[in-house]
Structures are given as C-alpha cells and as structure tokens.
C-alpha cells in the first residue's frame, strides 16, 4: 500500500490498527443491541400511529433539540481531539477531550431535567398517566415506555463514553507519557456511535407529529 507516484491528491488510506478494528466490531454489536428497540418501536408505531403522534407532541422538543446540538458539538470536540492527538498537540488534545466530556455531561444534566419534567407532567406511564384518556392511550403508553427505555439505554452508553473520555484525558495530560493516539481514536469511534444513536432517536421520539 505505498503512496503511488501516479496517484493524485488523495492520501493513502491508513490500515486501521488492531484496536480500531476491534472497536468497529464492537460498534456493530452495539448497533444490533439498539436495533431491538428500534424494531420494537417500528412495530409498535405501525400498530399505534395515533398514540405515537399524540405522545410525541408531549415530549420536550426544546430540551431534545438543544441536547441534539450539544451532542453534535461534543462529537466535533472529540473529532478535533483526535486530530490534535495525532499531531502531538498535548494541551489542545486535553482541552478538547475535556470539552467533549463537559458537553456529554451537559447532555445528561438536561436529560435528567427533562425526565424530572416528564415525571411532573405525569408522562411516566404508571398511575395517573396524563394521556390515559386520549384516543389510543395504549399507543401513547407504549410510546413513553419506549421513550424512557431508549433514551435510558442511550444515557447509559453516554455515561460509559464520558468515563472513557475522562480516563483518556487523564492519560493524555500526563506529560511524561507519549500520547496514546490509538486509544483516543478508539474512544472517538465509541463516542460517535453514541452520537449517531441519538441522531436516530431524536426524530423518532421528538418529531413524530410536529408540523
């Protein structure tokens, strides 16, 4: 795989390291893990379009949208951190990793706030479910259970991601050690998966019937 003299401007694709390959395989398993929830959502929505539409309108689209922006920004920070690490820019990498973690924590904080609001507005499908008397209340209940389980699973993965980022950041900050570029790349891959899962969750949960 040498850089051929006849090739134009494209850089030679780098063969991924063993660790990166391993992380890609793990990400595929994570996608299958979430696919069950997406499939359950699909089937349930096909059976309860009205309930899903009604319920989705009661999600907090402001927090949801802000959180989407927050997570996308965190991914940008993570990607830049990877570039800094590869370039050997230790301070920049450390700061960008810190920013990534901070944005992740902002997401979780907003999510917690949102859950509190949901509970307050009796959107947890237990007793006194506020949508219990809507047409297709069953669909609305199922929507909100899926909402809590899917965003909950996502939040758990985000927490794992934040821990990883902090762990890696501490490693990068240690001046006497070489920057573990591969580890940062691998963490970045995981972080981007968590982001992508949210990209799908957001429209499916918040934007079902907001026209």
């Amino acid at each position: 795989m040498s850089a051929s003299s006849t090739s134009a401007v494209m850089s030679v694709p780098r063969k991924s390291s063993v660790a990166e390959f391993g992380m890609w395989v793990f990400l595929v398993s994570e996608m299958l893990f979430f696919s069950v929830l997406f499939f359950g959502y699909l089937v349930t929505r096909l059976h309860h379009p009205l309930g899903f539409a009604t319920a989705s309108r009661h999600t907090d689209v402001v927090i949801g949208s802000v959180n989407t922006a927050v997570l996308l920004t965190s991914s940008l920070m993570m990607a830049l951190a990877g570039r800094s690490a590869a370039a050997g820019a230790r301070r920049s990498a450390t700061r960008l990793l810190a920013a990534t973690a901070v944005f992740g924590m902002i997401f979780l904080a907003l999510k917690g706030l949102e859950y509190a609001h949901d509970a307050q507005h009796q959107l947890v499908p237990w007793r006194d479910f506020s949508l219990a008397f809507e047409p297709d209340a069953a669909g609305a209940r199922l929507f909100f259970w899926l909402y809590f389980i899917m965003t909950g699973a996502h939040a758990v993965h985000l927490l794992i991601g934040i821990s990883l980022v902090l762990f890696v950041m501490v490693g990068v900050a240690r001046v006497r050690h070489a920057i573990h570029v591969e580890l940062i790349e691998v963490t970045g891959l995981y972080w981007h998966l968590v982001d992508i899962v949210w990209i799908f969750l957001y429209p499916l949960l918040y934007l079902v019937s907001r026209s």
Binding site: G22, F34, G40, W126, W145
Partner: protein, 537 residues
C-alpha cells in the same frame, strides 16, 4: 510436576491460583473455561437425569408439575448458555486459534480473561436464581407467561443470561480481530484449517446475534417489573414480537453450537483418513453460507404461532435452503473418507458418530421445516429428538472428538486409547437408545414439556430413560481416564497423531509464547499423503 510438563510450557509458567486467575494466556483461559463448562455440564446433566427418572412413569411421581417445569428449564438454560455455546469456541477455540494461525495469543488477551469472568459472574447469578427456587418458563421465556404469570425467578435468570451474553460477544470479537489481523505472514484465508473458518463464522454470529438476545431479555425484565405492555395485547403490545426477537437470536445460536463442531470434525477426519479434505473451498463457503442463511430462518420456530401464511412459506423455503450447505459438508466428509487410509482412534470414532448423528438430526429438521408436517410435529418429542441429535449427537460428540484429539497437545499426555474407544461406543449406543425412541414418541403425539402422559407412551419412555443411564455412564468414563492420564499417561511428543496444522509444530504442551521458532507454513491445508497415522500406545 512430571517430566512431560517442562517448566517452559504454559502449564509450568506459575503454579499459584493467582497465576491462573490473572492469566492473559489464551491457553490457560481455555482451561479455565473447560473446567467451568464441565461443572455446568454435570449440573445440566443432573437436571436431565431427574427428568428422565420422572418420565419412567406416566403420572407425576417424583416431582410436582411445577418442579418438572423448573427442571426442564434449568436443563435448557444451563446446557444452552453455560455449556454448549461456550464449549468448543471458548475451550478449543481459545486454545487452538492462535496456534493454528501462528500467533502468540489472541488480539485482546485481557479482554479474553474478562470474557471468562463475565461468564462466571453470569453463571453464578443464574445459579443463585436456580437455587433460590428456579424458573419454570422453559429456556425460551415465552411471553406472556414469563412476563406476566410466572411466579418464579425470571428477572434474576435473564439477568444472568444477559451477563453471559457479553462474555460471548467479547469472545467473538476477539476471534474476528485475531483471524483478520494476527495470521502469520504468508497464511491466507484459504490456507487456514477449517476449524479456524468455523470459529470465525461462529464469531460473526456471536457478535451479531447475541446483542439481540440481550436487549430482548431487558424488555422481558421491563415488562415483568413495570408492566410496560410491549408483549401484552391488552396494553397494545404483541406476544409475537417477543417470539420474533427471541428466535432471531436463538436460531443463529444453534449454528453457534454446530459450526465449531463441524470445524473439529474436518480436522479429525482428515487426520485419521490421511487425506486432504474433499472440496476445501466448498467447505469454507458452506460454513459461511450456514452462518448467513442461518439468520434468515428464525420463523420456522413459529409456524403455528399465528404468523402469516406467507411468512411461514418464506421461512420454510429458507430453512430448506440452509440444509444445502450442511449437506454439502456431510457429502464432503464422506468423500474425504473415500479411499482414505482410515484408522479408528477415539477422536475418529466420535467424528464418525458425529457425521451419522448430525445427518439423522439434520434430515429430521427437513421434516420440521415442512409446514404441514410441522403442524403435527411441533411441540412434540420429535422436535426434542431432532435438536438433541444435532446438539448432543453432533456438537457434544464433536467436542469430545476435539478434547481427545488435542488432549496430547493441551496436556502433554496420551490418554488410554482402549478406554476412550470403549467410552465412545458406550456414548454412541446410550445416545441412540435415549433419543431414537423420542422420534417415535413425537410422531405418536407425545407433547414436550409434559411430565404426565398417557400410559401407552410408557414403553418408549422407559427405553429412553434406560438409554440415558447408559449415556450418563458413558459421559462419566472420560472424566476418569482423562484425569488418570494427567498423572499416569505417557508423555506425548509434539505430534503424536502425525497430523498437519501449525499447532502440531510446537511442543506438547506448548510454551507460553506458542512458537519459539517460526512454524513452517504448509503449501495447502491438510497436506496429508497416504501413510498411516502414528499409532498411539
């Protein structure tokens, strides 16, 4: 330690418990798994023995109906998740894959150890649930019984299985990366032993299918704890959603259980027929085809569930399709034997037994794949006989074939060939006496999971239980003579079977780093010429 185990071997690299429980050596981890799954094999076997004892008489005598339900559930849960799924991949796969590709270890040795700890943690969790009172839903956990009506320890059990699932996923991940990236230079995919191909394909299934089970079990727990209603029609859900999700994993799971066994058989048959495998490329493609098509047939477990007729027809057709690569493998093993120089050491006896019993079990799968026949046969003893022929007559026999074949390599000792051949025959006879009558019972209408049955079925049940006693004896024998060989068996050289494969080019047992000198890569796999295998004493 004895002369056979030099201080340079992986067995001699530390004798403390700590050196074993903090090892990163794939060979030691393989042994950790081997001991663990053996314990569970005996537990699952005890449950089976109690089942067969109960079924000696037509009406409930030994146990109550609820206890019987807990027994067959325990048998299924333990045997599937704590014995069969880890068996060949985590023991023989862990030990041999790095050796077969000329590597020092797997791609992620610490992850490998984590896999074992997850297995133990999940297993203990499930064991606790079983001891606390067990679970009575069947290993299939069908909603709504598991989610709404069972009063047993469902959540604890599914939690244990969930944890063990991650052990599987990480093991599969490790093998995939290892096979792709750690092959010694010059060893291409189409020069690999079929055992490596089999483990690789199995690993793909482990990584893709197991997460689906994990999340499905989360939904079962959520349904049970919070009544979310996703599987409950009264709340707008669908019990069939559970079945689709469960079987989407559990059908590929049976290919996790058979593919490694097929890999073992290819290694053993070629060695003891002194011939290269017939149709190496087709054998490799067949392995991949089984793994792929295996993801498309899950609905054949649901023919009478109320799914649409068109779904039934599609799954039936695809199930016939998946039989084709399996049949190709049986034809190719047979063609490998043809004009070979065949000898009947214990591993070969087990491998030959596999070919016959897998073929019988597979053929009966075709009956079940036929929609009309399945209406009559589903949920009867015919199904039980079918899958036991494949999982026990197939997978377990292949596991024993592999244990015996690679025993000299793993332990540095030869076992007693006489006792091993005797045990193989006892197991073969015991197995058939146990499970053949069950085909007949099924056709005659004996339902599965019933402990109370019409007395006209008793004769066949007695035969089956008698067979189980023989089978149990057969399974006990290897533990005696293999254990005996550890202390008194004659030391094995690097290649007592005169086999091909890189694992035979290093000492028995291997040194910790596997290959002190770089092994010679053969031009093609199974480079056998017609001369006799070295006769073991």
């Amino acid at each position: 330690m004895s002369a056979a185990v030099s201080s340079m071997s992986y067995l001699g690299a530390g004798y403390s418990l700590r050196s074993w429980f903090t090892t990163r050596d794939h060979k030691r981890i393989a042994i950790l798994y081997a001991v663990s799954i053996t314990v569970f094999f005996f537990m699952g076997g005890t449950a089976a023995s109690l089942i067969r004892l109960e079924l000696l008489s037509p009406h409930g005598t030994l146990v109550t109906a609820e206890t019987y339900n807990k027994l067959f559930t325990a048998h299924g849960v333990i045997m599937v998740w704590f014995f069969l799924i880890p068996s060949i991949p985590a023991t023989l796969g862990n030990f041999l894959v790095p050796l077969m590709i000329g590597a020092h270890d797997l791609a992620f040795p610490r992850l490998n150890l984590l896999s074992w700890y997850l297995y133990i943690f999940g297993a203990l969790f499930t064991l606790a649930a079983l001891i606390a009172g067990g679970v009575d839903t069947g290993w299939t956990f069908y909603a709504p019984f598991s989610t709404m009506f069972s009063t047993s320890y469902v959540v604890a059990t599914v939690t244990g299985v969930f944890i063990v699932g991650f052990s599987s996923i990480l093991t599969g991940l490790n093998f995939i990366v290892t096979v792709h990236r750690l092959r010694t230079p010059g060893l291409g995919f189409f020069q690999l032993p079929l055992f490596v191909w089999a483990i690789y394909a199995t690993s793909l299934i482990l990584v893709l299918a197991t997460p689906v089970l994990a999340m499905t079990l989360v939904l079962v727990a959520a349904e049970r704890l919070f009544g979310i209603g996703i599987f409950d029609p009264a709340l707008g859900g669908d019990p069939l959603l559970f079945q689709h999700l469960f079987w989407f994993y559990s059908h590929p799971a049976v290919y996790i259980m058979i593919l490694p066994a097929m890999g073992v058989v290819s290694e053993v048959v070629t060695c003891f027929a002194r011939k290269p495998v017939f149709g190496y490329h087709m054998m490799a493609y067949a392995i991949v085809a089984i793994a792929s098509i295996g993801f498309l047939v899950w609905g054949h477990h649901m023919f009478v569930s109320g799914q649409s007729m068109y779904a039934g027809m599609t799954f039936s057709l695809l199930s016939y399709l998946v039989a084709i690569p399996s049949a190709i493998k049986v034809f190719n093993w047979t063609a490998t034997l043809y004009k070979g120089s065949i000898s009947f050491a214990a591993p070969m006896l087990y491998a030959l037994g596999f070919i016959l019993l897998f073929m019988l079990g597979g053929l009966t799968g075709l009956f079940l794949a036929s929609l009309a026949l399945d209406v009559h046969l589903t949920d009867t003893y015919f199904v039980i006989a079918h899958f036991h022929y494949i999982m026990v007559g197939g997978s377990v026999m292949a596991y024993f074939a592999g244990i015996h074949f690679w025993w000299p390599k793993i332990t540095g000792r030869m076992y007693s060939e006489r006792w091993a051949q005797f045990a193989a025959v006892v197991i073969f006879v015991g197995f058939n006496v146990t499970f053949f009558p069950q085909y007949i019972l099924g056709i005659e209408g004996m339902p599965r999971r019933y402990h109370d049955y019409p007395s006209e079925f008793q004769v066949l049940h007695v035969f089956s239980s008698a067979g189980a006693a023989i089978l149990a004896l057969g399974y006990l024998l290897p533990f005696v003579y293999l254990a005996w060989s550890l202390r008194f068996g004659s030391p094995a050289g690097p290649n007592p079977w005169n086999a091909r494969g890189l694992e035979w080019q290093t000492a028995s047992p291997p040194p910790q780093e596997n290959f002190p000198t770089k092994p010679d890569i053969p031009a093609r796999p199974y480079d056998y010429a017609p001369e006799p295998a070295a006769a073991p004493s």
